[in-house]
Assembly symmetry: C2
Homo-oligomer: 195 residues x 2
C-alpha cells in the first residue's frame, strides 16, 4: 500500500519500519476522473499531494481569462499550490487532472505532527523543495535566454513520457507560447529534420 510514495521518500532519506507505518497511515488516497478539479482558485489548500497514477496540471487564469500551465504532475511527482498551503491563504492556482488519476494526500495538521514524529520528513521535504527550486531556476534562465523552439526541443527530450500523455496546447501553455505558434515550430522542425 502506497508503495510508490514510500519508494519516493526512501530514495532520499532512511526510514524505519515504524516510520513507514506512520507515513502510510497519514496519507489518504483520492481518485480523480478525467478533467476533475483537485483544487480551485480561492479554495484552501490543506494537503500535500503526491501523484500516484495519472497526470495533472497546475495552472492559473490571468485577467484576460488566459490559462497558464505552471507545472505538470505525473506519477512520482509532488504537486500543490505551495504558497496557499504554507500560508493558509486562498489558492491562486487550479489543480486539475488531465487523465484519470490517483493522488495520495496528507493534511497540513497531520504533516506538522509528522515533522516532529519523523524528523527525516523535514529533511525529505527540504531536499524535494531544493530540487524543485533548482529545476524552476533552470526553467527561468531558459525562458530568458532561449527561443521557443529551443525550449520545446528541450522539453520533449527531457519529458518524453509527459509529452505522450497530454494535448499539445497544454505544452504550448507551459512553454509560454500559443498553440498556433507551437504548431508552426513543429512544422519547421520536421521539415528541417528530413533534410
Amino acid at each position: 500500500m502506497h508503495e510508490s510514495l514510500i519508494q519516493n521518500i526512501k530514495a532520499h532519506v532512511p526510514l524505519t519500519e515504524n516510520e513507514v507505518e506512520l507515513i502510510q497511515e497519514a496519507f489518504k488516497e483520492r481518485k480523480l476522473k478525467k478533467k476533475e478539479h483537485l483544487l480551485q482558485k480561492g479554495d484552501n489548500s490543506n494537503h500535500m499531494r503526491f501523484v500516484s497514477e495519472g497526470c495533472l496540471k497546475v495552472y492559473s487564469i490571468d485577467e484576460d481569462g488566459q490559462e497558464h500551465v505552471l507545472q505538470f504532475g505525473i506519477s512520482g511527482w509532488w504537486i500543490n499550490d505551495l504558497y496557499a498551503f504554507l500560508t493558509q491563504t486562498p489558492a491562486t492556482f487550479f489543480i486539475q487532472s488531465i487523465t484519470e488519476s490517483t493522488v495520495l494526500q496528507i493534511h497540513r495538521d497531520r504533516l506538522n505532527q509528522l515533522y516532529d514524529e519523523v524528523p527525516m520528513i523535514d529533511r525529505f521535504f527540504r531536499i524535494k523543495t531544493q530540487n524543485g527550486y533548482v529545476a524552476l531556476q533552470e526553467r527561468t534562465i531558459r525562458s530568458m535566454s532561449e527561443t521557443a523552439e529551443q525550449r520545446y526541443s528541450q522539453f520533449i527530450s527531457r519529458y518524453r513520457d509527459i509529452e505522450q500523455q497530454i494535448p499539445q496546447y497544454l505544452i504550448a501553455s507551459y512553454l509560454g507560447v500559443t498553440p498556433e505558434h507551437l504548431s508552426a515550430i513543429r512544422k519547421k522542425m520536421s521539415t528541417n529534420n528530413l533534410s
Copy 2:
C-alpha cells in the same frame, strides 16, 4: 557577532543558546569589494551564503555572451548556485558583488554536520527553500502572463530598496528585457503618471 544571521534563522525556528553558539562558529565572514566575484562558472560551490551587508547578483552568460540576472541578494537574503552546491558539480552561474558587501558562509561539510547537531536547521532551510520556490513560481507566472511594463511596476513596488542600489540595466536583465526597452517603459510610465 553574526547578529543578522541569527535573527534571520530565529524568525523561522527556535534555537537554544548552545545552538546559537554552534551556528555562529560554523559561519565565516567574507568581505567583497565592488564587482568582486564570489563564484565563477565552473567553480565548485562549497558554501551556503548569507548576505550580511551590501548587494550582489547571481547571473549566467548564454551562448551569445549575453548576461542574464537570475537573482539579486541584499542584506538578509541567501544566495547561491544551489544546484552546483547540492550536486557538487561545477557552477553554471556567477555570483558577483554590485556594491561592497559582507557575506557569511558555511561549508557544505560543516552544514551537513549541523543538520544532525541542530535538527531545526533542516527545518529552517526547508522553510527558506519553500519560500524561495514560491517566489520563483510567482515570477514564472508573471513572465508568462504580464507585459514588461507590468512586471517592472511590480518590481519597483516590491523591491524599492533594491531598486535604489543597483543600475537600471541590471533590473532590465532581471526582468528579461533590454536596457533600451526598459528606458522606453520608464518614459511611457512617467508621461502617463503626470496626466
